[in-house]
Amino acid sequence: MLKTEELQINIGPQHPSTHGVFRLMATVDGETVVHLEPVFGYLHRNHEQLGEIWTYLQTITITDRLDYFNSMINEHGYCMTVEKLASIEVPERAEYIRVIMSELSRILNHAAAIGFWLQDMGSWGTTLMFGFRQREMIMDIFESVGGSRMMCNYMRFGGVARDLTPNLVEQINLFLEGFPQFIDDFERLMMENEILLARSRNVGVLPKELAAAYSVTGPVIRGSGIPYDIRRAEPYSIYDRFAFDIPVGSVGDVYDRFLVRMEEMRQSHRILRQAMEQLPQASGSYINQAYKAASKQQGLRLPAGEAYCRVESPKGELGYYIVSNGGNSAYRYGIRAPSLINLTALNDMCRGYTVADIVVILGSIDIVMGEVDR
């Protein structure tokens, strides 16, 4: 009787495919994973504590650094929470701009996430470069509108920092025109690839019940077959005005998550098309003017109370919780980071698969350590 020994393999913190500084303690039996313990915290930056010290306006700048792939959505969620607490009205045009930026962020994130995932799987750079090309074009838009490519710092309480110029509208439209070609290219490149199918089908299966039990969100839960999307479950901003479908998977494996992401990019494109058409022309209403001056001031004070707001970040449900005691900075500030919550299911997803599948499954969750460690 061949008794195999359990072996501990330490993947990370310095490892090419841990998506940042992240460590996986894998207990393996031969090549089969018996137990997997994610160890994180290497990138802890005291985000929530800082948010309690800094003023509300200052905190916007560090929400960018949470999930640095989609700073726009992070800001959106944070601004919504503060607006909810302070009952600030957001002009319609501002809402549209926010949705446009959020959906662009979603495309950016998914394009890069799929690229990274396939890179983890060993596809040498091509997919990543194609994804990064889209990311680059979107970041050019962000740069024009917010001033920075990744740390946009664009949303403000009551609107956004700058209006969309006609030039920018044209730039976004141009991007939207070319984008379907990217998806088609990508699908032809990868969707039917036999090796991809062999490596991703029935790998990292997360059954529906367990997905719900783990409260994973985003493409992971949708890949498992639960059509749970905050944009639908609790339509925020103006998402109730757009027609879009929620893609769900049928098995809950890595392949389903990949397909869900691909389809979500299509749906985001659909939303963007509608938003660009409906975008109100009244310029100057990009921020609540009555509130603009106040929000600029150092001493923006929120009424005492608490608020929780959630948005559908590309990684899942991103929630902000703010408790105010009437001061000019949050009394308590907490974040529900989707990457962190989704990561909790990693052990169960990896168990029984091989070491080589760990990186694929981890890539399919799509984590950003900035958000996990905060």
Binding site: P16, I195, G225, V355
Partner: protein
């Protein structure tokens, strides 16, 4: 060449020795130069496939980039990990490089033939098998789990893929009736430069080519079979603990293996240096070298192309692919090769009296019949094996899709 040296030395054995040394040096130098060219092709090619430029700063079109890198890697500090097995760690790159370079002894560069031994084809396979020892040495001596895993994977993979590789070559050896690389190339020679005489243009040769090419990709650790150095899983596999010059040697060996694969494939299936005008006395030699390099580098470009597309196979899928897909195909191909030979060449003397009805051995009718028969067998076998693999499941997981 020997005559030339004999003129200088006047001593027979010294002349022989010197001529061999000269050839060895020429092979080594040419090999290193080709390796530099290969890295350049790979990076620029991948770059253009990915809508970007590759390295284009050093020299014209970045052609001197490999030289810059060579200087960089050679001047770097040579580090051996503290707990590593010093000597084995040191010897591993040597063994790997030596086995790789040894394979070049019998690979003809067009009409220039270094050595023609009568078991050349087998020799290439045998010598490249030795580099698995080097991989295992590297993996074990590094005293690193990733390196050991990479080494184990590399060896398991190399041994598994050796079998379809050799079996696919058996078909060609049967066709030719000789194991000498030169004979194999001569067999594809057509006095009119007709490229249809290449082995790849027969059904038998085509299937053999497919199996050999895929198996060679695995032997050369090219994507999608780059598991031994799978970056996203094993950091750099057995190369993890190597740096500086030792790494450069491993890298050089890697690319030389790839080039050897391309050269052998070009020789065995694409007629080596054969081409229009390759039999003209002196110009023909140059032309044949050109043809040979063009074919080999073209094949290398296909390698790069494949690398630009495919993800990596998991190690168990890789094994399944070797044993369940390539091996049956290679065996079927041997069968159809024997049919091919029987139909085309054998007469009543060998018990193929039926074939005599089609004409004398080598007649057009016989060739046509052999073509059709082997093509049907091979195509049917290919699709059958592919289908069986797909439906019976290449993956090991019997995970039933949870109905949601």
């Amino acid at each position: 060449m020997r005559a030339m040296w004999e003129f200088f030395f006047g001593v027979g054995w010294l002349a022989t020795l010197t001529s061999y040394l000269t050839i060895t040096t020429a092979i080594l130098v040419a090999g290193s130069l080709v390796m530099m060219l290969l890295t350049w092709i790979e990076r620029r090619g991948l770059g253009y496939m990915q809508d970007r430029k590759g390295p284009n700063r050093v020299g014209p079109f970045g052609l001197f980039q490999p030289i810059a890198e060579a200087i960089k890697t050679i001047t770097k500090e040579d580090i051996t990990p503290t707990d590593a097995d010093r000597w084995v760690h040191f010897l591993a790159p040597v063994v790997i490089l030596a086995s790789t370079v040894a394979a070049f002894a019998v690979i003809p560069w067009g009409n220039l033939i270094p050595v023609d031994i009568n078991v050349g084809v087998l020799y290439i396979v045998a010598v490249s098998a030795v580099h698995t020892v080097g991989i295992l040495m590297a993996g074990w001596a590094s005293n690193n789990k990733f390196a050991l895993l990479g080494g184990m994977r590399g060896v398991a993979q190399a041994i598994s893929y050796e079998i379809p590789q050799v079996l696919s070559l058996v078909s060609i050896v049967m066709l030719v009736g000789s194991m000498s690389v030169v004979d194999v190339i001569q067999n594809q020679m057509d006095p009119y430069g007709n490229i249809l005489s290449w082995h790849i243009f027969t059904p038998v040769g085509l299937l053999s080519f497919i199996v050999f090419w895929i198996a060679s990709l695995a032997e050369g650790e090219r994507p999608p079979f780059d598991n031994p150095e799978a970056e996203s899983e094993l950091v750099a596999g057995y190369m993890t603990e190597y740096g500086g010059m030792k790494f450069a040697v491993l890298f050089l060996a890697n690319y030389l293996t790839n080039f050897a694969i391309c050269a052998v494939t070009a020789g065995v299936f694409l007629g080596g240096g054969n081409g229009p005008g390759s039999d003209i006395p002196i110009l023909g030699t140059l032309l044949s070298v050109f043809y040979f390099l063009a074919k080999s580098l073209g094949l290398f470009f296909v390698m790069v192309w494949i690398r630009g597309v495919v993800p990596r196979l998991r190690i168990d899928e890789l094994m399944h692919f070797a044993w369940k897909f390539l091996l049956p195909l290679a065996l079927v191909n041997i069968f159809s090769t024997s049919l091919w030979i029987a139909i085309i060449r054998w007469g009543a003397e060998q018990g193929m009296g039926i074939a005599e009805a089609l004409g004398a051995p080598g007649s057009i009718a016989r060739i046509a019949v052999a073509w059709v028969v082997t093509a049907i067998i091979n195509v049917v076998a290919f699709f059958l094996v592919a289908r069986l693999n797909a439906t019976r499941g290449v993956t090991t997981y019997q995970a039933t899709p949870t109905a949601v």
